[in-house]
């Protein structure tokens, strides 16, 4: 089920009551949370719970196998790890990349003159498979790397994998971040409950009002057209998508953090004002933090990170970002998206090494200018992320470069107004909060202003009447 649905409202209200029943033991409450998490997942497509169970069970046994063989040869432990990676990546490869692999194989065969037609691939992608697979993999990898012991309780382990706030779209949690929270009884205090509810309202506002209501149709219109797109429309459509995807995904993470807080648990931050980033390494410290740190710790560093030669560091960087791109979806456009980010990071690293400049510029104007350049270049990558194919991406990029002379307007004036107002507000807010946390800002604001803004957001969410549109990252 999705957070922005009436079903979730009922589900969460019932769960909150059950979780706070005073006569239930802590174990009983955890069992309720686990069952509720399975219901949360099954409410989308019941049979796919089996896949979740399979992934959970496989890594439970493999982690124990790795731990039991810790005094034996590295090859034994590695073979356990290979099984885990093969099973988990196998699930993703089959469900997510099966059709992509077939199509590319077909194209490759045709290039060699072999006519082979891929069979029709009518497989539904299990929602959130890339997220929970990375969660279970991080558990096995941590045990393999000696960073943590296997979890002793099956219940705690299953709850760690399945805990519904992070299950389908993150934040991608590590065992050490969440599992210890299951050891002792947790009850949300009144303050954490109300703060959690406030975060849920904020997340819903981002998703329902800004992403779905405010920006989605402008981005859709620009990326759906088959006609040349002019300079203004191409930029507006791309800016609209940049705002949409941020509000959609950051909104999801904020709701996830809020729901966990209402139940007494803490999930890590996933976004820190990414559109105020100065440079691309800064961007990736602020955008989808749980994925970028996952890729860093389990891919970039094991590949050698920056410990080898200079050339090897660049290769590692590019490889990590290319695979990060592919993680998002089975399409070459996602690979290009990741590749562009890898290229940006490599160029930034090279520039910093050549010039010896380590931190941000001293003057505020220079910082702002660099942040805007970063944002503009990030927008170029979003074109590949959003476009259905390279033809569509080329059309929009040509428009952004001013190469589509005489193109007819795509967006009606009211859409232009919406995009300009909302995207400006998003970027300005992120710039203002660049070095501040939400908690700091709220503490400094008058209490009545916090109340007024929260009520306004709640009102806007209600009268926007979201249609329960799925979050973009569910498909990844």
């Amino acid at each position: 089920m999705v957070f922005n649905s009436l079903t979730f409202l009922v589900f969460f209200a019932v769960l909150l009551v059950a979780h706070h029943l005073p006569f239930l033991s802590w174990t009983a409450k955890k069992v309720i949370l686990l069952i509720a998490s399975y219901i949360f997942y099954a409410a989308w497509n019941p049979p796919f719970v089996l896949l979740l169970w399979a992934s959970t069970i496989v890594d439970w046994f493999i982690a124990r196998g790795i731990w039991a063989s810790r005094d034996r040869s590295r090859a034994v432990r590695r073979s356990w790890l290979v099984i885990s990676v093969a099973v988990n990546i196998g699930f993703i490869a089959f469900f997510k990349y099966g059709e992509f692999l077939m199509q590319n194989w077909q194209a490759l065969m045709q290039a060699f003159g072999v006519i082979w037609v891929a069979p029709e691939w009518d497989i539904v992608l299990p929602v959130g498979i890339s997220f929970y697979t990375f969660v279970t993999l991080s558990y096995t990898l941590d045990v393999y790397l000696g960073r943590s012991k296997p979890i002793e309780s099956r219940l705690d382990y299953a709850l760690f994998v399945t805990f519904f706030p992070h299950l389908v779209a993150g934040p991608i949690v590590r065992p050490t971040q969440l599992v210890p929270q299951f050891y002792a009884p947790k009850q949300a205090t009144r303050d954490s409950m109300l703060w959690g509810l406030g975060l849920i309202v904020l997340g819903l506002f981002e998703k329902v009002v800004l992403a779905d209501g405010g920006l989605a149709n402008a981005a859709d219109k620009v990326f759906a057209t088959s006609q040349p797109v002019g300079f203004v429309d191409a930029w507006l459509g791309t800016l609209a998508f940049s705002g949409q995807i941020f509000c959609d995904f950051a909104g999801y993470s904020t709701i996830a953090i809020g729901t966990a807080l209402c139940l007494g648990f803490a999930l890590p931050e996933n976004f820190r004002m990414p559109y105020a980033a100065i440079g691309f390494s800064d961007f990736w410290r602020r955008w989808h933090i749980s994925l970028s740190t996952w890729l860093r710790d389990y891919l970039y560093i094991p590949l050698g990170g920056n410990r080898g030669s200079e050339a090897r560091t660049y290769v590692n960087l590019l490889l990590t970002m290319l695979l990060g791109g592919l993680w998002h979806g089975a399409s070459w456009t996602f690979v290009v998206w990741g590749g562009l980010h890898g290229l940006y990071l490599a160029v930034e690293r090279w520039l910093r090494e050549k010039t010896g400049v380590a931190g941000d510029p001293a003057s505020a104007l220079s910082r702002l200018a660099l942040a805007l350049v970063t944002y503009a270049l990030v927008n170029v990558t979003w074109v590949f992320f959003r476009a259905e194919d390279f033809t569509g991406a080329a059309r929009v990029l040509a428009g952004m470069a001013g190469l589509a002379e005489g193109a007819a307007p795509v967006l009606p004036t009211m859409f232009v107004v919406k995009v300009v107002v909302i995207v400006t507000a998003i970027v300005a807010t992120q710039w203002f909060m660049r070095n501040r946390s939400l908690e700091e800002v709220v503490v400094r604001a008058p209490w009545w202003l916090t109340g007024l803004v929260t009520a306004a957001m709640l009102f806007a969410v209600t009268i926007t009447q979201g249609s329960g549109q799925a979050f973009i990252y569910f498909q990844f």
């Binding site: 089920m1 649905s5 009436l6 079903t7 009922v10 099954a42 409410a43 989308w44 497509n45 019941p46 000696g146 960073r147 943590s148 012991k149 590590r174 050490t176 971040q177 210890p180 929270q181 303050d191 109300l194 703060w195 009002v209 209501g213 405010g214 807080l261 803490a266 999930l267 890590p268 740190t293 710790d297 007819a408 307007p409 967006l411 009606p412 004036t413 009211m414 859409f415 107004v417 919406k418 908690e439 700091e440 709220v442 503490v443 209490w447 916090t450 109340g451 007024l452 929260t454 009520a455 306004a456 709640l458 009102f459 806007a460 209600t462 009268i463 926007t464 009447q465 249609s467 329960g468």
Partner: protein, 364 residues
């Protein structure tokens, strides 16, 4: 245990020190006051509690009724014409059965007829609406939320079904829950003085036309029935009537009829039947339809080549003088009259037999 990364620490979140009780009460009071004002405003606009939004889930629920295999069942496919112009209560009162209403606004019935033919064992009567410009066009249309429904209706998740039930209960209480009057629909429909050349905004789209009830019973919205801005806007939204649209080509018409004929043959082979209905249109809309899709080249040919029975509104005295306020759909009172008239014809001609006692549940 070694700790290599900051991710290895247990997550702890800061809970800011705020005046939570005061903020909480303030949010509650402001939200209730704002919602009460909004609800009252929406009722003043003419929205009503109990007018439920149609949705893919509502459609899928009706579609599932086809699987029950009633050998004398009735299913309606088509565009908004037959959807608005059929009063299901009248159908039930006259025949004892509640038809399955599968018509969708802006949609050609052809893919749905094909789906009934090929994907079901339905052997009852299919009522197929003919809105000529859509029916014979290669574009099958459909509102965005209904695109591909003939294939994807089984994909509705348990969560969507549950949410639909909760939504129904809320919509029976609150009038503001109307997607056509959601915040951004209202914002986008503000008319600006300087619209971009060649890009008509949502102001020029079709606005709220209908009210709908359980079992997908649609009626024209009372405010559109009455003379005034909304009715004029609805008429204008049907398109620039002055321009000369290219008429349907011979090839388009032939392909449409061939498509329908194949579906009819499959349905007939298992004992079912298809009857066509051409509901009324009026004003410039009717003039355009006559110009672009002349009866002799479309309707008459369709019946002849498929060997089917059809009801054309102009052929029956009891279907004259009906109100078509915005030129495309009947008023609620006229919808009841039209339904009575066309069901009467179907009964007379033996396409529908009385079922007594009535078994189906009321429409709403």
């Amino acid at each position: 245990m070694k700790h290599y990364h900051e991710q290895d620490d247990v997550t702890v979140r800061e809970i800011p020190r705020l005046r939570y009780a005061a903020i909480g009460w303030m949010v509650l009071a402001l939200f209730l006051a704002a919602m009460t004002s909004w609800e009252l405003r929406m009722r003043a606009v003419g929205l009503m509690a109990g007018d439920i939004d149609d949705s893919p889930v509502a459609w899928a629920i009706e579609r599932k009724r086809l699987e029950t295999g009633e050998h004398d069942g009735v299913v309606i496919v088509g565009s908004s014409r037959i959807l608005f112009d059929t009063d299901l209560d009248v159908w039930q009162e006259m025949t004892g059965r509640l038809p399955v209403q599968l018509a969708l606004p802006g949609t050609s019935p052809r893919p749905y007829l094909r789906s009934i033919a090929n994907d079901t064992q339905f052997d009852g009567l299919v009522i197929c609406d003919v809105a000529p410009e859509g029916f014979f066009s290669p574009f099958v249309g459909a509102l965005p939320q209904f695109v591909g429904m003939e294939k994807s209706w089984r994909d509705r998740s348990p969560s969507e079904h549950f949410g639909h039930q909760v939504g129904l209960r809320l919509e029976r209480v609150f009038a503001f829950m109307e997607s056509e009057y959601s915040l951004f629909r209202l914002i986008e429909r503000i008319k600006l003085a300087n619209d971009r050349v060649g890009q008509d905004g949502p102001y020029y789209d079709v606005w709220k036309l209908s009210v709908s009830y359980p079992h997908r019973q649609y009626f024209l919205w009372r405010r559109v029935e009455q003379p005034g801005f909304l009715r004029d806007h609805a008429r204008a939204a049907w398109g620039p009537f002055g321009d000369e649209r290219p008429p349907l080509t011979e090839g388009m018409i032939a392909a449409s009829i061939a498509d329908v004929a194949a579906s009819i043959a499959t349905i007939r082979a298992r004992g079912g039947e298809v009857a066509f209905v051409r509901p009324p249109s009026a004003g410039l809309f009717l003039e355009r339809e006559k110009r672009n899709a002349p009866r002799a080249k479309t309707w008459d040919r369709l019946l002849r080549e498929t060997g089917s029975f059809g009801i054309y509104f102009e052929d029956y005295a009891e279907m004259q003088g009906l109100e078509v306020p915005e030129w495309s759909h009947l008023s609620r009172d006229s919808a009841a009259r039209f339904t009575r008239a066309y069901v009467d014809v179907l009964l007379r001609e033996g396409y529908v037999r009385l079922r007594t006692p009535p078994e189906a549940e009321p429409a709403g």
